[in-house]
């Protein structure tokens, strides 16, 4: 299983957060320091999850201090947003898919920047299958990331069996990964992992990873 540490950013990019069990928000301090600390632990890549509706200027300096490739998702609305993110050094940009119009916009961005630089982020719902069918018609798309947690922290959780089914169905055309809502079951897919997970909640094989051990350490607070 491939794990990618991700950092949830809020407050105009000045604060990083983690949700314990997807409910309680824990403040974890300066996101730029978290980027540097995690990148020095040599993960495959680092993901920034922007919790705001727009792109805060503070996040543009993050890639400058990361030794690893970085991806960004959240608040991306236009081709200009995408361009400024790529220019600042992000390697991949994700677009949140909520409706058909988003898929159309993603297609435009893929045509402009190349599909291998773009991710699609989908919240698990009844429409997920429909979205995946449409996305599988894309020439190339870096990754489709499934979430089951909203900004409010609600969600039922992602079952590995469901993801494995989707992978069987779309695996030939889409690279499916999972993020918010992952419950720690064994799976052979990529997992975007909140950078300050409480390790008691998750299986040992993930916690044993040096990257996560570092991120876990700094998660403890009163």
């Amino acid at each position: 299983m491939r794990t990618i540490p991700c950092i949830a950013v809020d407050d105009a990019g000045e604060s990083a957060f983690y949700r314990i069990a997807h409910k309680n928000v824990v403040y974890i301090g300066c996101p730029l320091n978290v980027v540097r600390v995690l990148s020095e632990c040599n993960p495959d890549e680092l993901a920034i999850i922007n919790l705001q509706d727009c792109i805060p200027p503070a996040i543009f300096c993050f890639p400058r201090h990361s030794l690893r490739p970085m991806s960004f998702v959240g608040g991306v609305k236009s081709t200009d947003d995408c361009r400024s993110l790529f220019r600042s050094g992000y390697d991949r940009v994700g677009l949140t898919i909520k409706c058909e119009a988003d898929i159309y916009q993603l297609k435009q961005m893929c045509a402009f920047f190349g599909g291998s630089s773009m991710d699609a982020h989908i919240k698990l719902s009844q429409e997920t299958n429909n979205f995946l069918i449409q996305l599988s018609s894309f020439d190339s798309l870096s990754e489709v990331v499934l979430h089951d947690v909203e900004r409010s922290g609600r969600g039922q959780g992602i079952r590995a069996s469901l993801v494995d089914n989707l992978k069987r169905q779309f695996g030939a055309k889409l690279n499916i990964a999972i993020s918010g809502g992952y419950k720690g079951e064994e799976t052979n897919t990529t997992v975007y992992y909140a950078s300050r997970a409480v390790f008691a909640d998750f299986p040992q094989n993930i916690c044993g990873d040096r990257v996560l051990r570092n991120s876990i350490l700094i998660s403890h607070r009163p």
């Binding site: 300066c30 540097r36 570092n214 350490l217």
Partner: protein, 365 residues
């Protein structure tokens, strides 16, 4: 001008040794009379945990840990002694990955619970900017004051009879007091903030000197103890022991467990104030008989040889503090200002500190 016979300091008059060596000579002799055997501090730690132990205490002791050699060594000694301790850590937003790894290794080896207080970053950043704009030398005052305050807060929770701190005389003495300010001077912090960025400090942990002295010297509920002063503590030997026990990795120079402190010691202090703090740290190791003068000289040369580090760290610090490199350059060029030019508690603090120094009761000075 000649070099001091003992350390790397320069002697202006014809005396064989420098002023610092002369002042600390007696106390260092006292340190060298102590045993190097680590069973001695373990024994004194056991005794400290037994005094005042009450039924409601969940732990034998609390240990403040920064990731540096001294605090990690205290935690390691507790782990080897089998004490039931809780680690507390203050995160000011500048922890290095190596510091995290070192703390993590201890937590995993001895299964200690760890509680970390994460300082609200926008407040801390603003305070750091205010101190840099104020051109005062002791920018680390804001971190150290918050650590003292956090330690006292933990002490009031009465989780354990004693709180162990890694502060010690043997490896931390002899710093140039012109570039330091009293860590308990909350008034100085408030005034520097008021005259620059003037942010609300409600969420910044503060403590009065009286409250600190009470915990340090008088409190029977949870005392603050410095066990590294109970034996002949040697920093390099401690790092070697920890490396063998749990893979501790030492830092190039003292206090470099924080990205900011590294920048502060290597760039701000030498360039703006002409003060090479590493020299005083190395002098302390020479006086503690754990490093030869020639070795210290070569280490000091390496300290000055920054290569690309200064450039990279400057960019990182600028991005973290939300400054342009030109802003930082002009701060570095501006004239240094003394802490005493801002409101301060010097009148209250100075006599009491002199008294403590005379009684050899200050853990570091």
């Amino acid at each position: 001008m000649t070099e001091c016979k003992i350390c790397l300091n320069i002697v202006v008059d014809q005396l064989p040794i420098c002023g610092v060596c002369k002042v600390v000579e007696a106390r260092m002799m006292g340190v060298h009379r102590l045993t190097k055997d680590i069973s001695k501090p373990i024994e004194s730690m056991f005794k400290a945990t037994e005094v005042g132990k009450k039924a409601h205490h969940k732990f034998d002791a609390i240990v403040g840990i920064s990731g540096g050699v001294d605090s990690c060594f205290i935690a390691t000694l507790c782990g080897e002694a089998g004490l039931n301790i809780k680690l507390i850590h203050f995160d000011n937003g500048w922890n290095s990955s190596l510091a995290n790894q070192n703390i993590d290794n201890i937590v995993r080896k001895y299964h200690f619970p760890l509680e970390s207080y994460v300082m609200p970053w926008p407040i801390f950043r603003s305070l750091q900017r205010s101190f840099l704009l104020a051109s005062v030398p002791d920018v680390e005052l804001i971190t150290d004051h918050a650590i003292f305050s956090y330690m006292a807060k933990i002490a009031t929770q009465e989780l354990a009879p004693v709180l162990f701190s890694g502060a010690n005389f043997a490896t931390e003495h002899g710093l140039d007091e012109r570039y330091l300010w009293n860590k308990l001077d909350s008034l100085n912090i408030k005034d520097i903030n008021r005259r620059h960025e003037n942010i609300c400090l409600d969420k910044y942990p503060m403590i009065s000197p009286l409250k600190w002295f009470k915990h340090r010297f008088l409190s029977s509920n949870c005392r603050i103890a410095t066990p590294l002063n109970d034996f002949w503590y040697q920093r390099r030997e401690a790092a070697r022991i920890m490396s063998a026990l749990h893979g501790f990795k030492d830092y190039e120079f003292k206090h470099e467990e924080s990205y900011f402190t590294k920048f502060y010691q290597r760039v701000i202090l030498p360039q703006k104030f002409g003060y090479v703090k590493a020299k005083d740290h190395l002098n302390a190791l020479i006086r503690n008989r754990e490093m030869s003068k020639s070795h210290a000289q070569s280490k000091l040369g390496a300290f000055g040889d920054l290569g690309g580090v200064a450039n990279y760290e400057t960019k990182f610090v600028c991005d973290k503090l939300g400054m342009d490199e030109e802003d930082l350059a002009s701060i570095l060029k501006s004239k240094p200002v003394r802490h005493s030019q801002y409101r301060n508690l010097g009148i209250v603090m100075r006599p009491s500190l002199k008294l403590l120094s005379a009684l050899n009761m200050r853990s570091m000075a």
